[in-house]
Every structure is written in C-alpha cells, then in structure tokens.
C-alpha cells in the first residue's frame, strides 16, 4: 500500500446488494463521525489558532506593513521585488546547500549511531544520553558561541589540527568559503533527535526476524538491507520529510553564530534569517510575509516530491 494512495482515496468496497450497500454506507458514516470526533481538537486548533494567522500573513504579503502602522495594500509589489533581490537569491542558495548536504549527512550519522546503540551493550543508556545531549544544547546561545570560538583561527579545531601537523591557520568562521560548513557541522552534531526516533523505530522491529535470517545464513549487511531498511522505512521517511522541512526553516544557529548578520559576506544568510531581518529589523513585515509564502511553496514542492517517491521505497505494515 503506498502512502499517497492510502491517504488520498477512500477505500470503497464494491457493495452490490442493497443490504451490502446499506452496511457499507453505515460503515463509512460511522468512520466519518468517529474520524471527525477524534480530529476535533486538531480542527479547533487549526481554525482558531493557526488558520487565521496563516491567512493574515498571506494577506500581509500583499501589503506594506511596518508593524508600527497599519498595513497598506500594494498588490504584487513585494513578490516583484523579491525576484530582483540579490540577497534573497543568495539566501536561497545558502539554504539549499544547507538542506541538500546537511540533512542526509545528519540522518546517516543518526541512523548509524542508532543501529550501533540498538544492539545491547554495557552502558547503552549512558551512551544514548551522551549522544543525545548535543541536541538538547544545540539551540542554546552558550553552545553556539562556543562553536564559533572553536572554529576561529586560534580555536580548538585548529589547535587539534596543528597537533596532527597541519598548517591550520584559516579562520573557518570568518572565511565566507567555510563559514556555512561550520553551521552544517553544527547541524550534524545535533543528530540526537532523529537518532532517538530511529531508535524507537528500530525497537519496534521484532528480533525474531533477525534470528530467523541469521539461522538462514544471511550476512549482517543483507539483514540490514532486507529487514531493517524496509521495516524502518516509515520512520526513515518521517525523518527525511521533517528534517527537510525543519532545515529549510533553520534560524537560531545561524542567528547566533553570525551574530544576526548572516555571516561573512552573507555566506550564512539563511532564508529565515534574511526574512527575520526584513521583518523585524527593517520593519518590512509585508516583504517578509511574501518571502515566507515563497518558502511554503518551495517546502511544499519538496514534500510532495518526497511523498511521490515514497511509493517506491516505504513499506507500511498495514
């Protein structure tokens, strides 16, 4: 069963006799009522707290809004300006690189460590907590400051490289070529969140499958490919979709590491950082709203592509 078809169609059994038809209708009606009843808190939340502000921000994208005065309708001007804005294009490219490199890197590390920790071993709980720690700290100001310091010309990273004999004098954090990579590294360092989710998913794979496979003489790699990956695929899919969505909106780390500026020569000007600058620092919230909705379109496109291809590799138990 593919994810997309599951979600987008209602499964209709061919009801032939009037008796069957009545039963089928009652079943569907019963699910309808139950469905909306279970969904009620979310629907209320959507309507009251989310939908209103979302529509408001869509409206704002067609206005000049300084936050201090009432919004003033200007039609498509913001969107037109966006296409001629070199900093916007730069922020898009910075963010794309971050997503395309950072997300797979982080997920691969998270999965590898999760697999390592999934096997029972001494001190498992402690290792797991240690590997999760950076995720807890990742958004903190203190850690981002330390990270910046580590990658300075005389920071810890260069000191260690010198120990190994390298001529390490570059200031990674001050060089536009490398600054973004330090933030990507920071992202990979906080692999704890997807790791924990992978662990939870791995734990749901019954051990007897592995036993049966090894009795049949399958290698570890074959077991990984034939058992782990397919059974874990819903979780991999989840992590992939959500990490991409989150990565496109990454803000705090870039904000703190670059001190709010977007780093040397805009090399760490993440899209949402630029959006924040336009909205709150330059009092152009209308333009920022337009930027936000462009991002929605981009993320939605990536997500739709993800869902489309998931048909091929995601395997659901139901």
């Amino acid at each position: 069963m593919s994810a997309v078809s599951e979600l987008s169609t209602i499964h209709r059994v061919k009801a032939k006799t009037p008796e069957e038809k009545r039963l089928a209708a009652r079943e569907a009606g019963r699910d309808n009522k139950a469905g909306y009843l279970f969904l009620l808190p979310w629907l209320i939340g959507l309507v009251v707290i989310v939908a209103g502000p979302m529509f408001a921000s869509l409206y704002l994208s067609f206005t000049n809004y300084s936050l201090i005065q009432a919004p003033e309708f200007i039609g498509l001007d913001n969107y037109v300006r966006m296409f001629n804005d070199p900093r916007l294009l730069k922020s898009l490219s910075v963010t794309f690189i971050y997503v395309i490199v950072g997300v797979p890197a982080q997920l691969i590390v998270a999965l590898a460590i999760a697999m390592l920790l999934n096997e029972g071993m001494k001190g498992l709980a402690i290792y797991r907590s240690i590997f999760y720690l950076p995720s807890m700290l990742g958004a903190s100001v203190a850690i981002a400051l330390l990270w910046r310091q580590m990658f300075e010309a005389d920071g810890v990273v260069n000191q260690i490289l010198r120990l190994f004999g390298f001529q390490a004098t570059t200031s990674w954090i001050a060089d536009p070529q490398f600054a973004l990579w330090t933030i990507i590294l920071l992202h990979v360092w906080t692999f704890g969140s997807p790791m924990v989710i992978f662990l939870a998913g791995l734990r749901q794979i019954p051990g007897m499958y592995y036993e049966a496979a090894s009795v049949d003489g399958a290698s570890k790699w074959a077991q990984f490919r034939k058992i782990t990956l397919p059974l874990l695929s819903p979780i991999i899919f989840f992590n992939l979709v959500l990490q991409i969505i989150n990565a496109f909106q990454s803000f705090t780390q870039a904000y703190v590491v670059s001190n709010g500026t977007g780093g040397p020569a805009d090399s760490t000007l993440f899209y949402t950082l630029y959006l924040y600058q336009r909205g709150f620092v330059q009092f152009q919230m209308g333009y920022a709203s337009a930027m936000a909705w462009l991002l929605v379109v981009i993320i939605a496109a990536f997500t739709a592509i993800n869902f489309y291809f998931s048909k091929r590799w995601v395997f659901y138990g139901d």
Binding site: N32, Y36, L43, L46, V47, V48, A51, G52, P53, M54, F55, A56, Y59, L60, N64, Y65, S66, L67, I68, Q69, A70, P71, R148, E152, A153, T170, S171, I173, A174, D175, P176, V257, S258, N259, G260, T261, P264, A265, D266, F280, V281, Q282, F283, Q284, M285, Y287
Partner: protein, 436 residues
C-alpha cells in the same frame, strides 16, 4: 451533514482570518481599538508599564528608581519589563503591532525614527529640558517634535589599553592633534612592537566613526531628505580602511571579521589582543571591568590635526520615550520629567546609562560616581568645545547603516571588490532601504 460541517469550518476559518486582519488594521495609531497596557483606575491608581533593556545592574537600579518614584507618588503603580538588547526590539515591535506597547519605553537612536516618524511615540514637549547641556536635546526630535528625552550622554572615543602600549614601549598618542593617517601609524607601530594582531579595532562597523569622517568633510550622514553624503565620501572611508589593513594597523581581514562578532567583553582591548578600539564613552566602566585594568580614552582623530575641528557630537546613549497610545500620558511624562530632572533619580542611576544631560543634576551627583564614571564625566566636560551640531536621527530605514557599512566594507578589505564598487553598492542599498 458533511456539507454543513464543511461550510461551518470554512466560515469559521474565514471569520478568524477576518478578525485577525481587522485586528491588524485596528492597531494603527489614532484609531479607536487597542491601547497600552497601563490602565487607569477610577479615582485612584494609575498604572504604568515601563520597558527597558540592560543587565542585572541596570535592572536593579531601575527597580530601585521605580520603588523610589512610587514611594513619592503613592497613586502611581509602575510595573517593569526588563529585557536584553537584541530581543528587546523584537518584543517591542510585536507589542506595538498588537497595540500593547508599554507606556514608557527606553529608546535607541537607531530606532527612534522608525517609531517616531510613524506616530507611535508621544509628544514629550512638556518635559522640562531647560537645564540640559546644549546639543543633547535635539537628538530626540523627529520632525521637530520631541519624542525622546536623552537618558544619558555619551560620545565617540578611541579606547586604549595602556598595558599594550607599555609592551610596545610607546607613549599614548597625542589625541588633540592626531590625524586619521597618524592613527594608522600609531596602530601599526603598537601592534607590531607589542606583538598583538590589532592596532585599532572595531572600526569596520562603526557608522559613528564614518559619520565623524563625513562631518569633517563638511557633510552629514542624514538630512531630512535622505542621505547627506555621496559615493566619494563612502569611498574615502573604505580607502581609509584599506590603508589601515595594508599598513597592518587593523589586523588581517580574517581577524577583523572574527572581532566583528564578538561582544564587548571579548573585544581586542579587553583581551589585550589590540592596542586601541572604537567605543562609546559610557562603556568605559564595562570595558575596564572586563579588562581588569585601567583603560584610557582618546579623542577620535581629525583631518586637520586639530581636535577643535573634529566635529564631534554628544550622542544620546539611550532615550526615554512614551507610547502614543498610552492611557496615561500625563503620568508617563511626569515620570520622564522626574528621571531627567530629579536628583533622587540620578542618585540611583548615576552614570550607568550615560552622563546625566541635566547639568545641575550632574553637578549634584558627580561626587557619587565611580572613578571611571568620573573620568567619563570629565572627558565630556573637557571636550565641550569640540562638538558641533547634533546630527539628526537616522530616518526610517537608516538604522541599517552600520550593517550595510560593515558588509560592504568586509568585501573591500577581503579584496573581493574595489573601494569604489563597494562605496557605490553601499550608497545604493542605503538609499533603497530609506525609500521603502
């Protein structure tokens, strides 16, 4: 049934959206909806909300002042909203958008025209500024309306670390006669002899130093109509930066970039990786404490080599404003009046926010200042003859000048662009920011 439900949901969603959008519209100044947080009790208490940014010391001082004021004015209740500088502005903008701006707002020169020219600030003309030192009142005027009362004077200085100069076996330069080129020479010599990377630091994002240069060339940063300088002035500034980098007076471009992101307590002069750096005078105490030693203050250089022609000015380190939509304008003005003119207030705040602009108050409380604050007060007094007209506040969009200056300047010192190109780009971008 399903249709009704769907209709209901779509209708409800539309209503919510409409309500939110109308709420946005209702938050325009001058319309009936929304109000500030302070309420008025019937026949009794007035409530004021007071917002400021600072640090634990300033928080304690301000709370003490609030307590003193409430003791002297039993009908007034002030509730404080302390904050931290960078997040303060996000919060203030959100509160203003929602019609919940605090009654009394601590304001900064970079933001005062954003709020002031859009009608968000109360007219403070009835505050008594008669005893203020000349030149300290005008910075709070937007379009001739006083919307911010100077809460503390400061001025641009070059701070020097005597220990670094000792290591270089050099005397401190004569700051009454030095020129920009001489500053580069001194910086280069001190850096190389003392073995530190930075001769003169923190120049790259200093719109104030740039403004000093512009004024010495006979122009202004901003006029009521927009930008007061041209590309040639910007290019002169970038050429100056290039010269200093080439002379090894400012550090390498990478070092300059790193220092850019550092807070005050890790700046070159504090950690002894620099001989001198640009600073505001009221930060002397903070710099000295962080450095753990005495720090000297020098006048900025002049083109002519004469301090009396350096066209300095008294900045307002911060100002007190009031929300235009406050429910208690008289009470807010009364408090600002008290802060500006009452010795009781100054006795608590001392010079933490800057030197008190009221000359009488300053004379009365000066003896209570800490040694560093006394040095600053003396400096401000001594340089009275060297200040020119107070520049006007940056117009809306102009608050970005420091960031633009620094971003394009970084391109120049890294050699990615020429000073002429960056100067043009800088001026163009600043102009477009002003227009929106």
């Amino acid at each position: 049934m399903a249709l009704n439900r769907r209709q209901f949901l779509i209708g409800a969603g539309g209503l919510a959206a409409a309500a939110t959008t109308m709420g946005l519209g209702a938050c325009a100044p001058g319309s009936s909806g929304g109000g500030s947080q302070g309420g008025g009790g019937e026949g009794g208490e007035t409530n004021l909300a007071l917002a400021w940014w600072g640090n634990p010391t300033r928080n304690k001082n301000t709370e003490a002042m609030m307590a003193a004021y409430m003791a002297a004015n039993p009908n007034v209740k002030i509730s404080g909203q302390p904050g931290e500088f960078s997040s303060y502005w996000d919060k203030l903008a959100t509160q203003t958008a929602g019609g919940q701006a605090p009654d009394i707002i601590q304001m900064d020169m970079n933001y005062i025209s954003e709020y002031g020219s859009r009608g968000a600030l109360l007219d403070l003309g009835s505050v008594d500024t008669s005893k203020f030192v000349e030149g300290t009142v005008d910075s709070g005027k937007i379009n001739d309306k006083l919307v911010g009362v100077n809460a503390g004077i400061n001025t641009a200085v070059i701070m020097a670390n005597p220990k670094v100069f000792e290591k270089a076996k050099m005397d401190l330069p004569d700051d009454k006669t030095w020129t920009w080129d001489q500053m580069i020479e001194v910086g280069a010599e001190a850096a190389s002899k003392a073995g530190v990377p930075t001769g003169v630091g923190q120049l790259i994002n200093s719109d104030t130093m740039f403004g000093i240069l512009v004024r010495q060339r006979g122009k202004n940063l901003f006029t009521p109509d927009g930008i007061g300088f041209d590309v040639a002035d910007a290019q002169a500034w970038y050429d100056f930066l290039l010269k200093g980098v080439k002379a090894k007076a400012f550090g390498t471009p990478e070092q300059i970039s790193e220092v850019l992101a550092k807070p005050l307590d890790q700046s070159p002069v504090v950690v002894e990786s620099g001989a001198m750096q640009y600073q505001n005078s009221n930060q002397l105490l903070a710099v000295s404490e962080a450095a753990g030693q005495k720090i000297e203050m020098l006048r900025p250089p002049s083109l002519a080599g004469k301090a009396t022609e350096r066209k300095g000015w008294y900045k307002a380190s911060m100002l007190w404003s009031a929300s235009a939509k406050t429910k208690n304008p008289e009470a807010a003005i009364a408090w600002i009046n008290w802060f500006a003119n009452d010795q009781a207030a100054a006795a608590i705040d001392l010079a933490e926010r800057g030197i008190p602009p009221n000359a009488e108050v300053l004379a009365a409380v000066k003896s209570k200042f800490s040694p560093e604050q006394q040095v600053v007060a003396k400096f401000i007094e001594d340089t009275k003859t060297e200040v020119g007209n107070t520049p006007i506040a940056p117009p809306p969009g102009g608050g970005t000048i420091a960031e633009l200056l620094s971003r394009h300047g970084t391109d120049v010192i890294f050699g990615r662009t020429s000073s002429a190109e960056s100067a043009q780009k800088f001026v163009d971008e600043l102009k477009s920011n002003l227009q929106v």
